[in-house]
Subunit: 218 residues, 2 copies
DNA sequence: TATTCCGATAGTGAC
DNA sequence: GTCACTATCGGAATGAG
């Protein structure tokens, strides 16, 4: 079986997968922790229906789909929020200045979701089984190892759940999308918007600083 | 002072340079071993006149220049021939087949020069002080580290002393020459003409074999 | 087409 | 998609009263 089907067993037999990734399943969905999380908390929501699973997300995720799976996405959101709350707290700035990054980010779920969570899909998924990413916007992870990883979540390559279904599918060819957003797009810090060009190593070090400036272990 | 003038002290004060590179100098020329030799034996002949030294080789090396410096080039050739003779001998092939690579290469200077020596210049020199390369055609050297190094001696980027002065300077822009010959030109073995494409590492290993198949230490 | 260091880019085979 | 490995390609600094 091709690597494109690495997620398949999570929907065919979630009860027998023993890698500890599954956090919820019923007849309709499986929710897992991504095995190669690109942030502190990175979940995938997978519809179990073969029909839905093999569809391309941009054409499959319509309002009916959203109505049906919205609650499961919400539950993934709740999980991430809780997990982050349990593990981290907002760091008090030395300067004690009033910023957007006050404690409310980890106290108020709506603020957390708006400022610090990404829910959506990749324009060109690699994994064949349809999945929705629910990922915290810290990008503080040893699994985040190259430009493609970062830009797949931090450019228009990432399509927000709220923007689905797309009014009109204006996406180009897969190769063109990848070239434009994953290869040629500058690396831009998601905290402060500093532009790092192609310097992934510099961005990595910077993300480490950003994370440690904003959060600390409880 | 810029790295482009790394050769300057060899012509301004050859008597005080103490790196052991200088093998001959008089009022007109300095002859040195290249500090980063790309073959077993790699010399540079440098006119000491400021006027000549700052000229571009393709416009400066005319018949008058050649008459004047030909003898020094010859002396560099003699040095390389002698050095190679002293250090190496042609290896007897197991198959004992009659090839061009018989012992005459290291016994007859004319054959050595014709088959195994390159005398000339780079189309686009990096070093600002005019210099003529006299280099054995083995390319067996730890200093030969990349495609540019190899192709600068094994494509038309290298202009033979015998072809100077050029009838007509049909060279393009420096950048274009560099792209065409150093970057885009395939790597081709100078012994057997096998094409290695961009695989410099493969060529390196092959050159090691070629050298050891043709020569051995005395 | 200076060297050297460091890192970005790219292809491979395997899982 | 992952990893590990190898190797190619690419920019930046290079100096120093
Ligand atoms: N073998 C695997 N098991 C579980 N998840 C994986 C595996 N390989 C890749 N992934 C994740 O699957 C996701 C696929 O994302 P996508 O680019 O949308 O197809 C990525 O976030 C990967 O980290
Ligand atoms: N610092 C140096 N001292 C002596 N020779 C050098 C130095 N740097 C480079 N070279 C050599 O100078 C030559 C310049 O060749 P060119 O490409 O014709 O300018 C090359 O063969 C280099 O190996
Ligand atoms: Zn930042
Ligand atoms: Zn060969």
């Amino acid at each position: 079986m091709s690597w494109r089907y690495a997620l398949k067993s999570y929907i065919t037999n979630p009860e027998t997968v023993d890698d500890g990734a599954v956090i919820f399943f019923n007849d309709e969905v499986t929710i897992i922790r991504d095995s190669f999380p690109k942030s502190e908390c990175h979940l995938l929501v997978l519809p179990r229906s073969k029909q839905l699973s093999r569809g391309h997300p941009t054409s499959t995720i319509d309002s009916k789909f959203k109505n049906n799976f919205g609650p499961y996405v919400d539950s993934a959101i709740n999980y991430v929020f809780k997990h982050f709350q349990d593990k981290f707290q907002v760091k008090k700035s030395d300067q004690d200045m009033k910023t957007e990054w006050d404690e409310s980010v980890l106290k108020n779920k709506d603020i957390f979701v708006n400022k610090f969570l990404q829910i959506g899909i990749h324009s060109v998924p690699s994994m064949a089984n349809l999945h929705i990413h629910v990922i915290s916007r810290d990008y503080h992870s040893v699994r985040l190892k190259n430009k493609k990883h970062y830009n797949s979540f931090n450019t228009e390559f990432f399509i927000d759940w709220d923007d689905l279904p797309l009014n009109k599918n204006t996406l180009g060819k897969d190769k063109d999308i990848e070239t434009k957003y994953l290869k040629n797009h500058d690396l831009v810090c998601c905290y402060c918007h500093e532009n790092f060009g192609n310097k992934f190593s510099s961005l990595k070090k910077h993300l480490e600083l950003e994370f440690n400036n904003h959060f600390e272990f409880k």
